[in-house]
């Protein structure tokens, strides 16, 4: 036995290599390839639409899904790197720049002009504009996601005797209401907070204080976060934690034991929760209390503005089946696709008529869901540059950690990092 042991080992390693080299799934060359991300409900919608498309056109589709964020980008970019990009690609308002500026996306303008089922004007002009570079539309929008939704727990408001917020409220009202809704126990440990955002959504504070991230969103040449309006706004978000004490600090969040901010809202540990409309399906499962939504408050000078998301479908320039690809895109982002999406409550359809229809405004909670329709007017997109994510993750986030923890003032940090950002990314 001992004699053959080595031989067995060698054999084993050979088998290992051979099986690993074998291709997992065979895709035939005439298949239309489509990459997307999405949660369980979205998978179902997309699978149904793709099946319908296959039945109608007799064209086979290979739809591949990856988890959103870096894993999705990794998978898509690996296919590009391997010289085998998909025909149709799901993108969102920020990562699409990465593809668009490399010239790998097809200009959809001529396709849309020929389309009979819908027209360009059927979509929110804001999202169309975002996906347009030099008069070329690169992405057919599926949804727009104004981050303007403050969810609030009616029960906690009633208990504290605080009036529900209305759309014309301001930052000062947020603080006032928040303070009445924040509670501590006998040991001084917070048991309930007034307000929390889904993640540090400091951009919305900057916008509604009249500040900006860069000089020109569509063609950024300078970072403008060192202007007073921006500094004050970032400081205000930190003040919600350390001065007014209505929001949990990062360490208090850690102390929640891995509880996310939306879990805090669901379990009644925070009265107001700021995010986008996509939390609706999750919150509809809440049994213990009534809740509603209100628009993100206006800044001190009455300015209303907030950050936004959104997504859509693109066709790659290298695709050999562009007509079929466009057809698939019209199934996904066309009326049927948008109606199905609207019904889930996950996202606000990019087609105005469908967003305003009963498919989206469906008498289910929240009562004031229509704020997101009104909100579209006030959205501000993130700077349209592929490096913005790096600036955000590498330069801004670590520096802002020091502001959120209360260690440093916004003025000091921003005066420090903005020149560095301008030097490293905008000096060309």
């Amino acid at each position: 036995m001992k004699k053959y042991f080595g031989l067995i080992l060698v054999l084993f390693s050979l088998i290992f290599i051979l099986t690993a080299c074998q291709k997992g799934q065979q895709q035939s060359a005439d298949m239309l390839r489509f990459m997307y991300w999405g949660d369980v409900q979205e998978i179902e919608i997309i699978t149904n639409l793709v099946n319908q498309f296959e039945k109608d056109t007799k064209i086979k589709v290979s739809a591949e899904r990856a988890p959103s964020g870096p894993p999705y980008m990794e998978k898509v970019l690996t296919q590009f790197a391997g010289g085998n990009p998909p025909d149709v690609l799901f993108v969102e308002v920020n990562n699409f720049k990465k593809f668009a500026e490399k010239g790998v996306l097809e200009d959809l303008t001529p396709y849309l002009e020929k389309e009979t089922a819908f027209k360009k004007k059927d979509f929110y002009p804001q999202i169309i504009d975002r996906f347009t570079i030099n008069n070329s539309l690169y992405v057919l929008p599926r949804d727009i996601a104004p981050i303007c939704v403050v969810y609030y727990n009616k029960k906690l408001f009633d208990e504290a005797g605080v009036k529900y917020p209305t759309d014309d409220w301001t930052w000062a009202d947020l603080v006032k209401k928040g303070q009445k809704l924040t509670k501590k126990d006998a040991n001084g440990i917070y048991t309930q907070f007034g307000f929390v955002d889904d993640w540090p959504i400091w951009e919305s504070f900057v916008y509604s204080n009249g500040g900006s991230l860069v000089d020109n969103v569509k063609n950024p040449k300078r970072c403008t976060l060192d202007k007073k309006a921006a500094i004050d706004a970032v400081q205000f978000r930190a003040d919600l934690i350390h001065k007014y004490k209505i929001s949990p600090s990062p360490s208090q969040m850690t102390a929640m034991g891995g509880m996310g901010t939306s879990d805090m809202f669901v379990s009644g540990k925070v009265a107001m929760f700021y995010s986008g409309i996509w939390k609706t399906p999750l919150f509809r499962q809440i049994k213990d209390f009534q809740w509603d939504v209100v628009m993100f408050p206006k800044g001190p000078t009455g300015i209303r503005a907030f950050s936004t998301g959104g997504s859509g479908y693109a066709i790659t320039k290298g695709s050999k089946k562009k007509e079929a690809a466009w057809k698939l895109v019209t199934y996904l982002a066309g009326k049927q696709g948008q109606i199905e999406l609207a019904k889930t409550g996950l996202a606000q359809p990019a087609m105005i008529k469908i967003a305003e229809s009963e498919y989206f405004l469906d008498n289910k909670p929240p009562k004031h869901k229509d704020i997101v329709l009104k909100g579209v007017k006030y959205v501000v997109f993130a700077p349209l540059m592929s490096e913005w994510e790096e600036i955000n993750v590498s330069s801004i986030a670590p520096a802002f950690d020091k502001i959120w923890s209360g260690k440093e003032k916004a003025a000091k940090i921003l005066k420090e990092i903005v020149p560095e950002i301008n030097e490293s990314y905008f000096s060309k």
Partner: protein, 308 residues
């Protein structure tokens, strides 16, 4: 008679080649794996280190550009500092810790086998799972660590949520893995011939003297091996940090280690060339660290070697 000598001689030669062949056979899974799975990527990354590549458009040769940029990249220096900080504390503490545990586990107690298993268990636990357990232990309000500190009348720090304590937290966590090295020391301890202890006892050595003059010198080859391996591993720390900081290296970059930075550059910002250059710098650092250790390895005593 003549025939017999010849045969012995022949088989002796065969013995050494035989051993070599067996050696390579045992190494073959790793060598083959290296050639087939990592060999290509290693060569590719060396070429990419001199390119700019965003994965979408073909790589573009930029010469030493990446390396020049790295030298003036504050994030690189910060991540290098964090990595060194971690290594300088985690490696010696780990070695001392695992020797102590190995000495304890080398006693002839009744339940010592069970204890050995318990100490070894963390080494076979998935890194992600143990990182999550430690996040709970480090929880500032409900975590066990601050609970016990509180019992002693000490107000525990914020650990992972604090810039000052996040690296010490990682170092403390690394001590959890002493069991893996303990096994190697244990084997080393059991290889110390008992006649050496007997001789020392006859000379009137006490327990401490026996440890310093017999055990420790006999263990030096194992310590040397562990030192090299520990330094290599700790330079490559990634999983724990990635899990505990959600891939951010926060708060305020205080846990941004070199491999995490490479990951961010490659898979978040899609600068494959820059990331490859960073990996090769890491490789060179580890190589130099290892060469230095070999250079100063006079303290290692190999049995059978004459003491000079």
């Amino acid at each position: 008679m003549a025939y017999k000598t010849k045969k012995i001689k022949k088989s002796r030669i065969k013995m050494s080649t035989h051993e070599a062949i067996w050696g390579y056979i045992f190494l073959s899974p790793w060598i083959l794996g290296m050639i087939f799975f990592t060999g290509g990527p290693i060569i590719a990354s060396l070429i990419l280190a001199f390119c700019r590549w965003d994965l979408i458009t073909p790589p573009e040769l930029v010469g030493l550009d990446n390396f020049i940029k790295i030298m003036s990249d504050p994030k690189f220096w910060k991540s290098l500092y964090n990595t060194f900080y971690y290594t300088i504390f985690a490696v010696p503490l780990g070695i001392i810790g695992s020797i102590i545990v190995a000495l304890l586990m080398n006693q002839k107690w009744r339940s010592v086998r069970l204890l050995r298993t318990i100490y070894y268990l963390p080494s076979v636990t998935a890194g992600v799972a143990s990182a999550i357990i430690w996040m709970w232990l480090f929880n500032p309000d409900f975590g066990l660590i601050n609970y016990f500190l509180g019992k002693l009348g000490i107000k525990g720090p914020l650990w992972l949520a604090s810039e000052e304590w996040s690296k010490p937290a990682l170092i403390i966590m690394s001590l959890w893995g002493v069991g893996g090295n303990m096994i190697i020391y244990l084997a080393g301890l059991q290889g110390v011939p008992s006649q050496l202890y007997e001789a020392a006892e006859i000379d009137g050595a006490n327990l401490f003297q026996k440890f310093i003059n017999v055990t420790l010198p006999m263990l030096t080859p194992v310590i040397f091996f562990n030192l090299i391996m520990s330094i290599v591993w700790s330079f490559q720390i990634f999983t724990q940090v990635y899990v505990m900081t959600q891939g951010q290296g926060g708060p305020a970059d205080s846990t941004l280690v070199l491999v995490l930075y490479i990951y961010q550059k490659a898979f978040k910002f899609h600068q494959m060339g820059y990331a490859s250059a960073l990996s090769w710098i890491l490789f060179i650092i580890i190589l130099i660290a290892t060469l230095i250790q070999f250079k100063f390895s006079k303290w290692v005593y190999y049995e059978g070697e004459l003491k000079k």
